[in-house]
C-alpha cells in the first residue's frame, strides 16, 4: 500500500513532466490539411477524431471526418445513417465562424469495389467483382480495411477544394502500427512469389514462364490442385490475373497516399488510454513514426480518472471509512463510508494512471501531451464531443 501517496488533483504532475499539446494551435494552423488519429483498439481514436473535427469546424475550418467504426449512437448523432460511403454534412453545428463539418463512415468493401470499377475495363471489372477470391479478399483480408482507409483518404484529398482539413480515424486493430504496415501486406500478396507463379501460365508467354522454375512448379501446382481442388486454383489464377492488369495503378495510388502521410501538411495524433498496454503500443508507434520521418504532433491520453475532492489521501479515507462502517452508526455513516471508499479508489486509480503517463513521457520527453478525463457518460452526442474538445484544448 502506498500510504505516502499525496492527494492531488489529477493530471497536475503529469502535465508538468510533459509539454502540453496545443490542440487549438494545431487545428488553427491552415498549413495542416490532414490529421490522423492512431492508437490501439478502444482507446478513443474515433471519439478524438470526431471531437477534433467538431471543434475545428466550429472554429472556422471546413472539415471532413473519415470515421471507421463509430459506436452506433455516435454514428447517429453525426448523421451517419446513410451508408453510401461519401461524406454528408453534420447537422447541429455552430457555423458562425464560417466553418463546416462533413462526416462519413468507411465501407471497405464498397471502397474496394469502387477502385475496381474505376480502374478495370468494364468487362473485366464485373469478372473481378464476381470472383470468389475477390469477394473474400475485399471483405476479410487482414489489412484491407487499413488499405481502404488510405485509399479513401487519397480520394478525399483529391476533392480537397471542398474541405481544408481532413481528419482520419484509423481501424480498430490491436496494434497501431497496422495502419502503416497493412497496405504493404496487400502489395506483397500481389508480389508474392507463389502468386507470380500462379499467374505465369496465364501470361502471354504461355508456358515459357514455367520453364524458369523447371519441374518444381508442376509438382507444386499438382499438389496444390490435389489439396485445394482445381477449381480453387483456377479461381485464384483468374482473380490475380484480372487484378494484375489494374494493380499497377492501384499500388501507385497507395504509395502516393503513404507519401502524403509524411508531408508537412499532415499531423499524427497518437491516442492512448492510461493503461500499460495502450501506452506501450503508443510508444512503439511514436518510435515508428520517428523512424519513418512522419510528423507527430503529440499524444492524447484519453479517459483519465477524475478526482474532484482535494486534500484527502486514500489511506486516510479508507481508515475513516472503516471506523464509520462498524454497522452501528446511522445510514448517513454508511453513506459517508461509501463516499470515502469511492474517493480512495478514484485517487489510487488516478495515481496509477498518472504514473503510467509519466513513464511514457520520461521515455519521450519531447512529445506534447493532452489529457482528456473520462466523462461519466459515453461520448455520443455533439454536446459531449464538445466537452472532449474542450478538454483536449485545455
Amino acid at each position: 500500500m502506498t500510504a505516502a501517496a499525496q492527494p492531488q488533483p489529477s493530471g497536475t504532475r503529469a502535465s508538468q513532466a510533459a509539454p502540453r499539446l496545443d490542440i487549438d494551435a494545431l487545428i488553427g494552423d491552415r498549413a495542416i490539411g490532414i490529421i490522423v488519429c492512431c492508437g490501439s483498439g478502444g482507446v478513443g481514436k474515433t471519439t478524438t477524431a470526431a471531437a477534433l473535427g467538431l471543434r475545428a469546424a466550429e472554429q472556422g475550418r471546413r472539415v471532413v471526418v473519415l470515421t471507421i467504426d463509430p459506436a452506433r449512437r455516435l454514428a447517429q448523432s453525426l448523421g451517419l445513417t446513410e451508408l453510401d460511403n461519401t461524406p454528408r454534412p453534420v447537422q447541429g453545428i455552430d457555423t458562425s465562424a464560417g466553418g463546416s463539418l462533413d462526416a462519413m463512415m468507411l465501407d471497405m468493401k464498397r471502397t474496394f469495389d469502387e477502385v475496381v470499377l474505376a480502374h478495370a475495363e468494364p468487362g473485366k471489372a464485373q469478372q473481378i467483382l464476381a470472383n470468389p477470391f475477390y469477394q473474400a479478399v475485399s471483405s476479410s483480408f487482414a489489412g484491407t480495411q487499413e488499405y481502404m482507409a488510405m485509399e479513401k483518404l487519397g480520394q478525399l484529398k483529391q476533392s480537397a477544394d471542398r474541405w481544408d482539413l481532413i481528419i482520419v480515424d484509423t481501424p480498430p486493430s490491436r496494434s497501431a502500427l497496422d495502419f502503416l504496415d497493412a497496405p504493404n501486406r496487400l502489395g506483397s500478396f500481389l508480389d508474392g512469389r507463389f502468386i507470380r507463379l500462379l499467374t505465369a501460365p496465364a501470361k502471354a508467354s504461355g508456358r515459357a514462364g514455367l520453364k524458369v522454375f523447371g519441374i518444381g512448379i508442376q509438382m507444386v501446382s499438382g499438389v496444390m490442385t490435389k489439396i485445394l481442388g482445381g477449381q480453387m486454383l483456377h479461381d485464384v489464377q483468374t482473380f490475380v490475373a484480372a487484378l494484375d492488369t489494374m494493380f499497377g495503378g492501384f499500388r501507385e495510388r497507395a504509395d502516393k497516399t503513404y507519401r502524403l502521410l509524411s508531408e508537412d501538411e499532415t499531423a499524427f495524433l497518437v491516442v492512448a488510454s492510461p493503461e500499460r498496454d495502450a501506452l506501450r503500443e503508443a510508444s512503439y508507434f511514436v518510435d515508428r513514426l520517428e523512424a519513418d520521418g512522419m510528423p507527430l504532433s503529440g499524444l492524447v491520453v484519453n479517459r483519465i480518472g477524475r478526482v474532484v475532492a482535494p486534500g484527502l489521501s486514500p489511506s486516510r479515507a479508507l481508515a475513516m471509512a472503516e471506523s464509520l462502517d462498524d454497522g452501528t452508526g446511522p445510514r448517513s455513516a454508511t453513506n459517508a463510508a461509501g463516499v470515502l471508499r469511492l474517493h480512495a479508489t478514484l485517487v489510487r486509480q488516478a495515481e496509477r494512471q498518472r504514473e503510467l503517463a509519466e513513464r511514457f513521457s520520461r521515455g519521450h520527453p519531447e512529445i506534447p501531451v493532452a489529457y482528456v478525463p473520462a466523462l461519466s457518460q459515453d461520448v455520443h452526442d455533439l454536446e459531449s464531443l464538445r466537452e472532449v474538445g474542450d478538454a483536449l484544448a485545455e
Binding site: F194, M224, I227, A309, A336, V339
Partner: protein, 333 residues
C-alpha cells in the same frame, strides 16, 4: 436453450478486443479441469497469451502442460500455428517428403497460411478438430477414451469470430473437391453440433455490449450454439440503491455526511464536501450506464456470469480465483 454444458466438449471464447478473452478462457479451462479432468487450452493468434497468463515459458507447437488443479486435473496449453498444422496435415494425407520442402520454397505454404482467404482459419480449426477427436492412445478412432475431456479455445475477437467459425463452409465452397473440402465439411458438422458452444466475454460498456449482441445474432444465424455471456471486470457500487439515487440527483445529505466526516476526524472544507459529492454523482451515473448495458445483455436470454475486477491485475493465482467464481456461479458443474 440450455445452461448445462455437460455435453459440450469444445468451448470457444470470444469477445471484443481487450475485454478479457484470454483471461476468461484460462479461468474456464481451470474450472473445467477441476475433478481431475484433462483440458486443452489453445490459442490461434500466436500471441502467447496462455503462457503469459500461466507464467510459463512460451509455448511451441507441442502440447505442453501449463497447470495442474488440486483435484488431479491438468491444463495443457497449445499455441496452434497454421504453418505447422499445414505441414502436419500434408504429411498425414500425402506423406510428402521432398514436395513439402518444395512447397515451402515456392512460397506455397506462406500463401496458404497467410494469404489464401480462409485456408489459414481452416487449418487452425482443423488442428482443434484433430485434438478433439484424438484418443488417449493417440489414434483417432477406437475404444480408447478421449485424450481431452474438454477443449477451450481462446478465439479471435467478436469482429472476426463469425467468419472464423463459418470459414469452413466458405472454403468448402471455394475448394469444391479434395481433402480440404471434405475436412471442411466434418469441421462444420462439429462446430454446429451441441458439443460446441461459443461464450462471449464483455465489459459493461456500450461498444463491447453492442458487439456482443451483434455476435449473438450472427452466430445463431450461422447455426452455432451460443453458450454464456461472461461479464468481466465487474466493480460493485460503493453505495446502496437509495444512496445512489440521492447521489445522482446531487442530494446526498450534506450536513449529515459532513458531521460523520468531522466525527471521523476529517477537517471538512466546502471544496472537499462538494468534491466528494461530485465524485459520488459521477459514480451513480456510471452505475446507471452499467445497469443499462446489463439489461441489454439480459434481453438475449442467455445465462450471464460475472467476474470481479481484480485490483492487482492477473497472475496464475488470480486465474484460479476467477475459475472458482465460475464454478460458484454454476457455469461449470
Amino acid at each position: 436453450m440450455t445452461t448445462d454444458w455437460t455435453n459440450a466438449r469444445l468451448h470457444i471464447v470470444t469477445g471484443k478486443g481487450g475485454t478479457g478473452k484470454t483471461t476468461v478462457a484460462a479461468a474456464l479451462a481451470v474450472a473445467l479441469a477441476s475433478n481431475g479432468r484433462r483440458v486443452l487450452l489453445s490459442e490461434v493468434e500466436g500471441r502467447q497469451g496462455i503462457s503469459q497468463t500461466f507464467d510459463v515459458p512460451p509455448l511451441g507447437t507441442e502440447e505442453t502442460r501449463v497447470a495442474r488443479t488440486a483435484g488431479g486435473g491438468e491444463i495443457v496449453g497449445l499455441s496452434v500455428d497454421a504453418k505447422a498444422a499445414l505441414m502436419e496435415y500434408l504429411q498425414l494425407f500425402y506423406k510428402l517428403g521432398r514436395a513439402g520442402k518444395l512447397l515451402e520454397k515456392f512460397g506455397a505454404i506462406d500463401f496458404a497460411t497467410t494469404i489464401a482467404p480462409g485456408v489459414r482459419d481452416v487449418l487452425l480449426i482443423g488442428k482443434i478438430y484433430e485434438a478433439g477427436r484424438r484418443r488417449k492412445d493417440g489414434k483417432h478412432r477406437g475404444a480408447s477414451p478421449a485424450a481431452y475431456d474438454a477443449i477451450v479455445l481462446d478465439a479471435p475477437p467478436t469482429g472476426r469470430i463469425g467468419r472464423f467459425l463459418s470459414v469452413n463452409s466458405e472454403v468448402a465452397d471455394l475448394a469444391r473437391v479434395g481433402p480440404i473440402h471434405s475436412q471442411a465439411g466434418s469441421i462444420t458438422t462439429m462446430l454446429e453440433s451441441d458439443g460446441t458452444v461459443v461464450h462471449i466475454v464483455t465489459l459493461l460498456e456500450e461498444m463491447p455490449v453492442q458487439e456482443t449482441v451483434e455476435a449473438v445474432h450472427d452466430l445463431r444465424e450461422k447455426g452455432l450454439h451460443v453458450g454464456a455471456i461472461i461479464v468481466n471486470m465487474v466493480r460493485p457500487p460503493y453505495l446502496d440503491d437509495a444512496a445512489l439515487d440521492q447521489a445522482r440527483a446531487g442530494r446526498l445529505h450534506k450536513p449529515s455526511i459532513s458531521t460523520q466526516l468531522s466525527e471521523a476526524g476529517v477537517k471538512v472544507t466546502p471544496d472537499l464536501l462538494d468534491g466528494l459529492l461530485d465524485e459520488a454523482q459521477n459514480h451513480a451515473l456510471r452505475v446507471d450506464l452499467e445497469r443499462e448495458q446489463l439489461a441489454i445483455l439480459e434481453e438475449t436470454g442467455l445465462p450471464i456470469y460475472q467476474l470481479p475486477a481484480l485490483p492487482d491485475g492477473i497472475d496464475p493465482g488470480e486465474v484460479r480465483e476467477l475459475a472458482d467464481a465460475l464454478i460458484e456461479q454454476g457455469m461449470v458443474k
